[in-house]
């Protein structure tokens, strides 16, 4: 029996779902291996019970709390995918402002038609079974996690900082080029794709389990960043990782 799979979107850009659809080469094998019963971005049919539910996006409305609880009831395995779902991600930047101001800024006159609550990661609303981080998720990681679930294994969660793959890939460290980076405290598994492509790590995969925040602050400070810059930098994806970065 092929496992029944649902893919759901909450507050996000749906880029992570697009990454699933971007697995073009593997798509025939994916469809053969999985019974995809719900996937709003890709199809109209909709089933109601799931062996695996992939959840894209953060939770930022009361109605989303209700939907999430319903999905949890109907799914055996729940996996948040992407920075929005795993960390709250960029959505949480709004939490620094009063909600009515946020609504007005976004919808102007029409604000009264909408409601919103402070954004939060999926795990703040329902229990989840695994995290697949990244903004967006890494295609290869999605395929690997599906393989491991099909084989009946607990998926492997990388916990080494981005620096490891960055160095192993032969990159010149951006600190040698006068730039700064969150690689030393960010969960690897993306092959340091941003540094390899000429940018820096912004921390989209979230923090490793035991990040050395103190040391990271020190290296950013000695690279010339103010405390305010450092906080901004960190808050981009990780502001909802409360208590870790203050």
């Amino acid at each position: 029996m092929r496992p029944k799979v649902g893919v759901f979107d909450f507050t996000c850009c749906q880029g992570c779902e697009l990454q699933i659809l971007n697995c073009e080469e593997e798509m025939p094998d994916l469809i053969a291996a999985l019974d995809i019963v719900a996937f709003r971005e890709a199809m109209t049919e909709r089933g109601n019970y799931y062996d695996i539910a992939f959840i894209d996006g953060a939770c930022s409305r009361e109605s989303e709390i209700v939907s999430l609880k319903e999905i949890r009831k109907r799914a055996k395995i729940v996996i948040p995918i992407g920075a929005c779902a795993c960390l709250g991600g960029v959505n949480c930047l709004k939490n620094a402002y009063p909600m009515d101001e946020v609504l007005k800024a976004e919808y102007g006159e029409a604000a009264s038609y909408y409601d919103t609550i402070p954004a939060r990661p999926i795990s703040a609303v329902i229990p989840v079974d695994f995290f697949m981080p990244g903004c967006p998720i890494v295609k290869e990681e999605f395929i690997r996690v599906v393989q491991e679930l099909l084989a009946g294994r607990d998926p492997y969660q990388p916990n080494d900082p981005v620096c490891a793959e960055c160095k192993a890939g032969g990159n010149v460290c951006v600190f040698d080029k006068g730039m700064t980076c969150l690689g030393p405290v960010t969960r690897g598994g993306c092959k340091a794709t941003c540094v390899t492509g000429g940018a820096v790590c912004w921390g989209c995969r979230g923090l490793i389990d035991e990040p050395n925040i103190h040391a990271e602050k020190e290296i950013l400070e000695s690279a010339g960043l103010s405390m305010e810059d450092i906080t901004k930098r960190f808050n981009l994806f990780n502001v909802c990782q409360e208590g870790v970065w203050k």
């Binding site: 080494d160 010149v172 490793i208 990040p211 050395n212 020190e218 290296i219």
Partner: protein, 348 residues
């Protein structure tokens, strides 16, 4: 084995021919540093470099290295996968060759690793003396600034020409096939020796004691507070090991197709600086803190590898010194500090 010379201009046209007929990995510019990479044209080659971002180990131990392929259905079958291709590494420095000597001991000593061995024996090594050492290197005091005799050809830049020492019959063949040489005169060999001697004096970092004393220094250092002082800054990022030419640790993982019918088992680089490295199935971690792991790494470099494989685990290339963003990875700094404090903190 003979010692010959070749004009630089001739040498670079020889390299073009070499590239034409072989897979040649040489040193190229990678601003602001240098890197080993596949050579496509002789102009890309930079033999006057200070350091490469990564050592050339990647050609002997690729970052991901398939070991076996297997079928799970309809029948279970397993096949070993050994990949190797005739390869030339061009421009290796002496410290990196000392590291390969250690890899040889690890992978072709008592236990032969067939994947390593196949690649190693298919790889010709053409090295070059490092006459202008890197700011962070301390190879001279590790005794690794001059090449061990496991090269095929070894170059020294004499200005207008290269002095070339032939180190093996494979080197002899390469020389015959590609190089336009004259036998070296005594005065040229003396000039090489002087250039080498001068280069040894140009290293900025050095050990305060001889490298042979490191194990003894470490014997008395287990409880030194230095480890805590350095370790609390550690990111456990593994940068220091990823760039290290003597690091040999790997993890083994499986990759299975979505239909669960076929798969591949491969290895990939691991690091004793990672939090998960010492985690065992029961969930315990026998080196749970950055401090434990940092101490372990510096014992491994300065003592354990020597005891097990007969070579020190650090060749003084300096890559980790530079790679560590919090300046705690340097073996030379740690060993010198321990010497200084030996009187204050007697044995464990």
């Amino acid at each position: 084995m003979p010692i010959v010379t070749t004009l630089k201009a001739d040498f670079y046209s020889s390299v073009q021919n070499m590239i034409h007929e072989n897979e040649v990995y040489g040193v190229k510019r990678k601003t602001p540093s240098f890197a080993f990479d596949k050579l496509c044209a002789t102009q890309e080659l930079c033999l006057d470099y200070d350091i490469t971002v990564l050592p050339p180990n990647q050609y002997l131990l690729p970052p991901t290295d398939p070991l076996i392929t297997f079928n799970l259905s309809p029948e279970v079958s397993i096949r070993s996968k050994v990949e190797s291709r005739a390869t030339i590494i061009l421009g290796i420095h002496a410290y990196d060759l000392h590291a390969i000597k250690l890899l040889d001991a690890v992978f072709t000593g008592n236990l032969v690793d067939v994947n390593y061995q196949a690649r190693r024996s298919a790889t010709a090594i053409i090295g070059v003396d490092c006459l202008n050492p890197w700011l962070y290197s301390f190879a001279a005091s590790m005794g690794t600034a001059l090449p061990p005799s496991i090269f095929d050809l070894w170059l020294t830049d004499l200005g207008g020409e290269y002095l070339i020492e032939v180190g093996s019959s494979r080197g002899q063949d390469l020389s015959k096939r590609y190089l336009k040489t004259k036998s070296a005169r005594k005065v040229q060999i003396r000039q090489r020796d002087k250039f080498r001697q001068d280069s040894l004096n140009r290293y900025q970092l050095s050990l305060d004691r001889s490298a042979q004393e490191i194990p003894e220094i470490l014997d008395k250092a287990w409880k030194n507070p230095l480890w805590e002082e350095l370790g609390e800054k550690c990111f456990s990022c593994g940068s220091c090991t990823m760039v290290c030419p003597t690091c040999v640790c790997f993890d083994v993982r499986d990759k299975i197709t979505l239909n669960l019918k076929r798969g591949e088992r491969y290895r990939l680089g691991d690091s004793c600086m990672f939090d998960a490295f010492d985690k065992v199935a029961s969930g315990e971690n026998f080196r749970p803190t950055g401090t434990d792991r940092l101490r372990h790494r510096l014992y491994r470099k300065g003592k354990y590898m020597l005891e097990r494989w007969g070579e020190l685990g650090c060749v003084g290339c300096g890559r980790c010194v530079h790679a560590c963003l919090v300046d705690i990875a340097s073996p030379v700094y740690a060993y010198n500090r321990l010497v200084k404090e030996a009187t204050q903190w007697p044995s464990a």
